[in-house]
Symmetry: C2
Subunit: 136 residues, 2 copies
């Protein structure tokens, strides 16, 4: 059911210079504000050293900044820079464009049903992944 939709959505993303883990990490930071590397690791399917190096690369590219956590000397707080936000926005627009082009081709009835389901889809997307998603 939603299977094909997923791979379709993936392909609807115009080719970008950052991989999917990087993009969803950046998007997560954009939504939640500053987070520690450990928190980012928990949300992505990558190991801690992998996230450390990803954050370092994104910092070099100017998308994020790392600052010391005043509350915990071991931790590093990562947050999105204005350039990072602009980049996210740009990606968003490019995808929206592609998707809109296809949505426009739907029959009015289908379009209507899709609009009606937006709320449900948003609700779904807002749910954290719980079940067997993260194998212990």
């Amino acid at each position: 059911m939603l299977e094909r939709l997923h791979s379709w959505l993936r392909q609807a993303t115009p080719a970008v210079e950052w991989n999917s883990v990087a993009l969803s990490t950046l998007a997560l930071l954009g939504r939640r504000g500053r987070l520690r590397i450990t928190d980012l690791v928990a949300a992505a399917r990558i190991t801690q050293p992998g996230m450390t190096s990803l954050v370092a690369r994104m910092a070099t590219a100017g998308l994020v900044v790392k600052e010391a956590d005043p509350a915990d000397g071991r931790a590093t707080l990562v947050s999105v820079t204005p350039a990072g936000h602009a980049y996210l926005e740009q990606i968003h627009e490019r995808r929206a464009e592609v998707i809109a082009g296809h949505v426009r081709g739907l029959s009015p009835a289908r379009l209507q049903s899709l609009i009606g389901a937006l709320d449900a889809l948003e609700t779904l997307a807002a749910q954290p992944i719980t079940p067997g998603a993260e194998p212990r």
Copy 2:
């Protein structure tokens, strides 16, 4: 809109041993039957040598088989083995399980709207990606 849904769907996929390009390639083969490497390249965001090695790895793992194309001596036809189909099915079930768990949590009204939109979503997913998806 459909932005977050995408990353949600990605995370709803239980961790697997094959990356997303491999899975969608395998799924494509499952749907379309035997295809040449060049066709697979066109559908995935990967270069030809990358696809050649991916196919080689999947063949080693027993998910696909390569055969000479009787109609074109240069080409190789790739198709899914029974084990490959079983693997696809298994992934499908695992994902369906995770998704179903979440869908069940929706309010009846939202669930209804979602069901109503399935047809539209299927239609969308069946459309080839056209616009600026594949930069020349």
